[in-house]
């Protein structure tokens, strides 16, 4: 059951992180998927469009000209050759909490 700020996951409360809002895209709150991650003992549910797959990646930093925001820690190349940005869950949950406090 989703509330504006948290969902219940296996009997525990997980703070809902709206990546869409955080990264300047449309809000993902109305979506039905969330990736639940645990950061420093706290659960976070990151709202997503869909899950891709699990891959082992080499993460490289982004060029500083791109001024990547906190939460985007680098980039990598998937097995199929496409480029992906790499997110840092710890930074994302911190930024999301800050955003909620200031809202």
């Amino acid at each position: 059951v989703a509330t504006p700020d948290a969902i219940e996951w296996r009997g525990r409360e997980a703070a809902l992180v709206d990546l869409g809002e955080l990264l300047g895209h449309r809000s993902l709150r109305a979506r039905s998927f969330a990736a639940v991650v645990e950061v420093e003992g706290r659960l976070c549910a990151i709202a997503i469009d869909q899950l891709g797959e699990l891959e082992e990646l080499v993460v490289r930093p982004l060029d500083p000209v791109l001024c990547a925001p906190a939460g985007v820690s680098g980039s990598s190349i998937l097995g199929n050759g496409s480029v992906v940005l790499v997110l840092e869950p710890a930074e994302i949950t911190i930024r999301s909490a800050e955003l909620r406090r200031s809202a």
Partner: protein
């Protein structure tokens, strides 16, 4: 130089003097005709040159992955043989508006301080050989507001082409604000 000039019979057989003379002349010719290679390209409908020494390769525009909150003058990242490089839109930095990607658009991969950066351009025309004497300081009013980015222009085919310096372009990124996405 006059001391080595052919003097007639008394210098006959002095092959060394003649070689010296040829050397002197060759050195002078090189000095006069110092040239370098430049990539002649267009950005937002205007023509520019980029030093060939900085250009690495030219690609068709494939998928560009945008980076959230990145400056408006950056397009995102692309893959280049296993590396991820940033792509910038020099048109934004030159005050010419954002480049729209057309079939003729290309990404010119250039090297600046041992890192590779892609530049989105309307198209790459050709490589030209230019003499040092063809370059001169930019006129007042050439691309107003972008004085820092373009320092020199070159006369080619009756046009004034701005000389793009990648280091300057990269330094000016971030001053134009973040992209609206």
């Amino acid at each position: 130089m006059t001391e080595h000039a052919p003097q007639g019979p008394q210098e006959e057989g002095s092959i060394y003097a003649f070689i010296d003379l040829l050397r002197t002349q060759a050195a002078e010719e090189v000095e006069v005709e110092e040239t370098s290679l430049w990539v002649f390209l267009s950005i937002s409908g205007r023509k520019f040159v980029v030093p060939m020494s900085a250009a690495r390769e030219i690609h068709r525009v494939g998928e560009i992955v945008p980076v959230p909150d990145a400056p408006a003058s950056t397009c995102g990242v692309v893959q280049l043989r296993g590396r991820v490089i940033a792509v910038i839109d020099p048109a934004v930095l030159l005050g010419l508006g954002a480049t729209s990607i057309e079939p003729a658009s290309r990404i010119l991969v250039a090297e600046s301080r041992s890192r590779l950066v892609g530049m989105l351009v309307d198209g790459v025309d050709r490589v030209v050989e230019l003499a040092d004497g063809q370059f001169r300081p930019r006129d007042e009013g050439y691309l107003p507001g972008q004085a820092e980015t373009i320092q020199r222009v070159v006369d080619l085919d009756g046009q004034n082409l701005g000389v793009l310096e990648l280091d300057r372009l990269l330094r000016s990124i971030g001053s134009e604000g973040s992209s609206e996405r």
